[in-house]
Amino acid sequence: MAASSSLKNMALCLTGVCLVCSAILGGVYVLTQEPIARAEKANLQASLSQVIPDGYEISIEPVYREMDGARYECYNAAGAGENEVATAVKSTVNGFGGPLTVLVGVTSDGCVYAAKVLSHSETPGLGAKCSEAASHFVQQFSRFDPSQKSLKVKKDGGDIDAITASTITSRAYALAVENAVKLMKEDSYE
């Protein structure tokens, strides 16, 4: 059974265990560093390619833009043609259950190409539907032209169909997209 305890062997034992454990962890960390970085990069790339038109060259280096004192993380992309540029904006607003982060692809004509939820804490089964790519709610933001239609839910007099029983989530989502559109619009005037 367990050895008897004296101050010396207790200190020795704890130090030893901590050293060995840190060494193991350090080793595993070094080994997994590269796969983790690769997985994160692949994840980002997959998200970006969903909101940027096909055939565009996406730069995965983030650039930052500012609006109303808030900073937005953006990713630029360039198409084959002269003026074909698009930007993916990471836009965060407060949803129903916490922060709602939406990645919004905006093309050079100010239209929304597509939007995708990156992270959310909305109610499962209700607001969480905003992360289902195939749903009508998410699809209606694809090829959305803000100069033709309004980025407000129908309840507030706009053109967006809200998710059933989740007006707050829908409103937040629409606001996140609107912020991204506004950000890119301001930017093009500079």
């Binding site: 367990a2 305890s5 265990v17 901590c18 454990c21 595993v28 796969p35 994160e40 499962p124 089964g125």
Partner: protein, 193 residues
């Protein structure tokens, strides 16, 4: 106890969820669907088996007064290894289970088995105990997950067979407590005799 008995006792007789009532937090939080429950169970099993093995190896040389801190360090090490591996190879799963992966450190099942079993048994027996309790925990979590998924979203393992939305409360917090409560009633009635 036979080697087989060491494994199977975790299923019903010493089922960690329904009989020992340990590790309630992940049991309630991560069982919103069958897949999530299964993944959480497997993650806990990974830590449980490895920590049981290592603790049964080092137990004879660890001074009695510091055994708890030493065990916690060992468990925390395996949890961190698991975190890094999951981030590298299954980042999606890591994102869903979130906070509850690092919280395996304070899951009473892991420390409980170290104290109650691994520190006085051989390496092989401890490993088998880890596997048994791990499977028992995984089974319980998966069962709760399946029930909540059927009632809450009308599907099993993501395959939808009831159209419509289901009773949403079962996917949310109250459903977790309710399903666990009623399962315990059934367990008391039929399995504990």
């Amino acid at each position: 106890m036979s080697k087989l008995g060491l494994i199977t006792k975790g299923f019903i007789k010493e089922n960690p969820t329904f009989v020992l009532v340990l590790g309630m937090c992940p049991t309630l939080a991560t069982t919103t669907s069958a897949v999530n429950g299964l993944e959480m169970g497997l993650a806990t099993m990974f830590v449980l088996i490895l920590s049981n093995i290592v603790i049964s190896l080092v137990a004879p040389i660890v001074p009695d007064k510091v055994h708890i801190p030493v065990y916690i360090v060992i468990i925390a090490t395996f949890v961190t290894v698991l975190q890094l591996l999951m981030q590298a190879f299954v980042p999606e799963v890591y994102k869903t289970l979130g906070l509850f992966i690092p919280l395996i450190v304070v899951n009473c099942i892991v420390l409980g088995r170290a104290e109650a079993f691994a520190n006085k048994n051989t390496v092989l027996d401890s490993a088998l105990d880890g596997i048994g309790i791990g499977i028992g925990f995984t089974l319980s979590l998966t069962v709760i997950g399946i029930i909540r998924e059927i009632l809450g979203s009308g599907s099993v393992f993501g395959a939808k067979f009831i159209p419509g939305d289901g009773v949403l409360a079962f996917v949310m917090a109250p459903g977790a407590f309710l399903v666990l409560g009623y399962l315990m009633v059934l367990f008391n009635k039929f399995a504990k005799k």
